[in-house]
């Protein structure tokens, strides 16, 4: 029962429905905010629990969408958490079968989803705990930032205008406000350039209704004196339109939001950098520069011959690393995979190795599409077909009593075997299997616990695991496999 609820909460269909509902609610809200600008702008400087009950009591027809939005976002947060947690748990379960780098790479989308929840919580903190104090600025007026911080005094307010000779002549370009603390410390504020004091941000804003007060150019010379007097008195009177205001912001959600946004950006960049298989590396550069070139992923998918030539070049440059005991065979199966790709089939290769002598007994590769379509000819199937045919020609196994007597053989595959191949390997009697790269989507070795009991029983004394290969060989095996998967996906789309 609980499991069923958990899975329903994390269902991706629920995410789609909630996102679409949130979109519709936000759109409805934008119409209301457009028609009742002042009403909703007040919420920007008030805590939601102070604003909503009052407005709800007087005009529920205008504000109904805000509580609805909060409920939807809460459900979306729960859905996102459960969905991302499920994925993380699944990945952790498969951790031992994959390289550390790949594990973290696959973890990134889930982390981004967790950060999304964090940012939403940050916004919730801002809406419910934020404080915004707006004080009209006047020369020589005192400013109390917080009870704990010393008072500041407005030393000068200097307006800068566009040159008279230009079409913008006389219009306000910038305002510089100089604050001086009791201890003599100086602060300078400008529009769009806040200062941070004692856990609060200080920024300058303008009283609503445009810039009427600034339309006339100020005379040259020292900054004009503004109405003196304590800030509190002016606040009570209300600022004039266009008059600069000091906004003191205490927002506990801000740090969470900024940290979340920064981490999301870093993870997005890392996600693309971790995947140097295609022109996707352009992504971080594009994101950082914010000058995005056309979808490089699509371009990469279409520049296949170049990519294949590049992979071939990398294989030719590579020699087995003796520090990794399976590297030699990893490179053999990678070369088989490349041959298969060049023939027009999938980028997967396999070989059988005599465990004691280290001799490569037989090689195979994916032959699904060439010379003609054979749905069964995955690399492991091709390898075992060839080996068993060869065995028949040689007069059968050394032990006539047991046709599955091949405990001395190790099957090496470039990719984690699929369910079909895995059961064939178990059935063939092969007790040792290593694969160079895991296949999160289609691999079965990491899901052996989901095999039918018969096959689980047959595989009980088998040793099937990830090969001990250098990162370069593993990367190549993954690249070749991904290349064929993308080609296949593209063909499928074109056929449709």
């Amino acid at each position: 029962m609980l499991k069923s609820i958990w899975h329903t909460l994390g269902d991706i269909r629920l995410a789609v429905i909630l996102l679409l509902t949130a979109s519709a609610t936000l759109l409805a809200g934008s119409f209301h905010a457009e028609d009742h600008f002042s009403l909703f702008m007040a919420l920007n400087h008030m805590r939601i629990q102070d604003w909503l009950p009052v407005q709800w009591a007087s005009r529920p027809e205008l504000v109904w969408w805000i509580p609805v939005l909060f409920v939807i976002m809460a459900l979306l947060g729960i859905n996102t958490f459960v969905c991302a947690a499920n994925r993380c748990l699944r990945l952790v379960g498969q951790r031992r079968n994959m390289a550390r780098g790949r594990f973290f790479y696959l973890l990134i989308p889930s982390l981004v989803h967790f950060l999304f929840i964090t940012i939403m919580l940050g916004h919730l903190a801002s809406f419910t705990m934020g404080r915004w104090q707006r004080i009209p600025l006047a020369a020589d007026s005192p400013i109390a930032v917080s009870p704990d911080a010393p008072d500041y005094r407005v030393a000068a307010i200097q307006d800068e205008f566009y040159p008279q000779a230009s079409a913008l002549g006389g219009r306000l370009r910038q305002t510089a406000v100089a604050l001086v603390g009791a201890g003599g410390q100086a602060l300078q504020l400008q529009y769009g350039r806040p200062a941070f004091i004692d856990g609060r941000f200080l920024l300058i804003d303008k009283a609503p209704q445009g810039e009427k007060a600034h339309k006339k150019p100020m005379p040259a010379g020292p900054p004009p004196a503004r109405r003196p007097g304590p800030a509190s008195t002016e606040a009570a009177q209300g600022p004039n339109a266009g008059q600069p205001l000091l906004v003191i912001v205490s927002d506990p959600g801000l740090a969470v939001i900024i940290l979340g946004l920064t981490l999301i950006m870093a993870l997005m960049i890392g996600y693309f950098l971790f995947k140097p298989k295609s022109a996707m590396w352009i992504a971080p550069v594009a994101v950082l520069a914010l000058l995005v070139v056309h979808p490089a992923a699509a371009a990469a998918a279409e520049s296949r011959p170049e990519e294949l030539a590049q992979i071939e070049g990398r294989i030719q440059m590579l020699s087995p690393d003796p520090a990794f005991k399976d590297d030699r065979y990893g490179l053999i199966v990678v070369k088989e995979a490349l041959t298969s790709l060049k023939e027009g089939s999938g980028g997967i290769g396999a070989c059988l190795v005599h465990e004691q002598t280290g001799e490569v007994v037989c090689t195979g590769r994916n032959r699904q599409y060439r010379p003609y379509f054979r749905s069964d000819l995955h690399a492991e199937m091709d390898l075992l077909n060839r080996y068993e045919d060869w065995l028949r020609k040689m007069g059968g196994r050394t032990s006539g009593a047991d046709p599955r007597d091949c405990a001395h053989l190790v099957l090496v595959s470039s990719v984690e075997p699929c369910p079909m191949c895995l059961t064939r390997i178990i059935n063939s009697g092969i007790k040792k299997l290593v694969y160079v790269t895991p296949d999160e989507r289609g691999g079965m070795v990491s899901r052996m616990d989901r095999l039918p009991p018969f096959w689980q029983d047959r595989a009980r004394d088998c040793d099937y695991r990830l090969a001990v290969c250098s990162p370069a060989v593993r990367q190549l095996a993954g690249d070749l496999f991904d290349f064929s998967v993308r080609t296949w996906d593209k063909k499928k789309e074109e056929t449709k």
């Binding site: 995410a15 909703f40 801002s126 809406f127 079409a167 910038q174 529009y191 941000f201 801000l254 939001i257």
Partner: protein, 248 residues
């Protein structure tokens, strides 16, 4: 040099885009790419020139949505033509021409910028937002082609991914601009709410890819998303036509 006369460059750029479109239709790829590249260069100059419309350089008119969007589409088309020479270009160029045509009838002057609009975060926001919009329009176009059976079923997916990534960047830069300007990372104003509506809509469209039974519907949503972006952004642009402008 960068005076109101610079508007002629926009007309020339649009003419060249239209020629590039015609050449693409008649499969004259090299000539089409050349016309596109020259048009793009002229429009780039035009955008820089917009910065001087007031007689003193300000950034905001350069990144003003209605004028930046066709430039973004043209940039995408140029990069695509260079990286994938055999890719069909007709759709992208048709979109570029259509949005350029809107510019011809739009108020060409600049809205006098408020000091807050000159923030670097504002510039980054407008750049990333316009580029994301361009990618959403391209995705919607591909989705329409898919629905008409003239393109693969999920041809819009890559465009959507890139558009969404950039729109997320726009949300981030927009939040920072909003904070340094007004003291809030989220504003309860129409602009911010509609922007969030677009983000959630495309988030839903992308998540649809992971539901096998619903996946075929993603082309409908991508096309609808294009219309949503068009309605919201061009609704704002038309509203801004009423603003006081100088230098046009």
């Amino acid at each position: 040099m960068f005076t109101t006369g610079v508007h002629a460059w926009l007309h020339a750029a649009m003419g060249l885009y239209a020629i590039a479109w015609g050449l693409a239709v008649f499969r004259q790829r090299r000539l089409g790419t050349a016309a596109l590249a020259v048009g793009f260069a002229l429009q780039s100059l035009y955008l820089v020139g917009r910065g001087w419309l007031g007689g003193v350089f300000v950034v905001h008119p350069v990144v003003e949505g209605p004028f930046l969007l066709p430039w973004c589409l043209a940039l995408i088309a140029v990069v695509r033509a260079l990286m994938v020479p055999k890719a069909p270009m007709g759709g992208l160029l048709a979109l570029t021409v259509a949005f350029c045509l809107f510019c011809l009838f739009y108020s060409k002057g600049m809205i006098p910028p408020s000091p807050k609009r000159e923030s670097v975060w504002a510039t980054l926001f407008f750049l990333s937002e316009s580029m994301a919009h361009a990618l959403f329009y391209a995705a919607a176009w591909m989705a329409v082609l898919s629905l008409a059976g003239k393109a693969p079923a999920h041809a819009c997916y890559n465009w959507l991914v890139w558009g969404f990534s950039l729109y997320t960047v726009a949300q981030m830069t927009g939040a920072l601009w909003c904070f340094v300007g007004w003291g809030n990372t989220f504003s309860w104003g129409s602009r911010h709410l509609s922007s969030a509506a677009i983000w959630t809509f495309f988030a839903a469209t992308l998540h649809l890819q992971f539901v096998p039974k619903w996946k075929p519907k993603s082309a409908f949503l991508a096309a609808a998303g294009g219309l949503l972006v068009l309605y919201i952004s061009y609704g704002n642009y038309l509203h801004e036509m009423r603003h006081l402008r100088v230098g046009g």
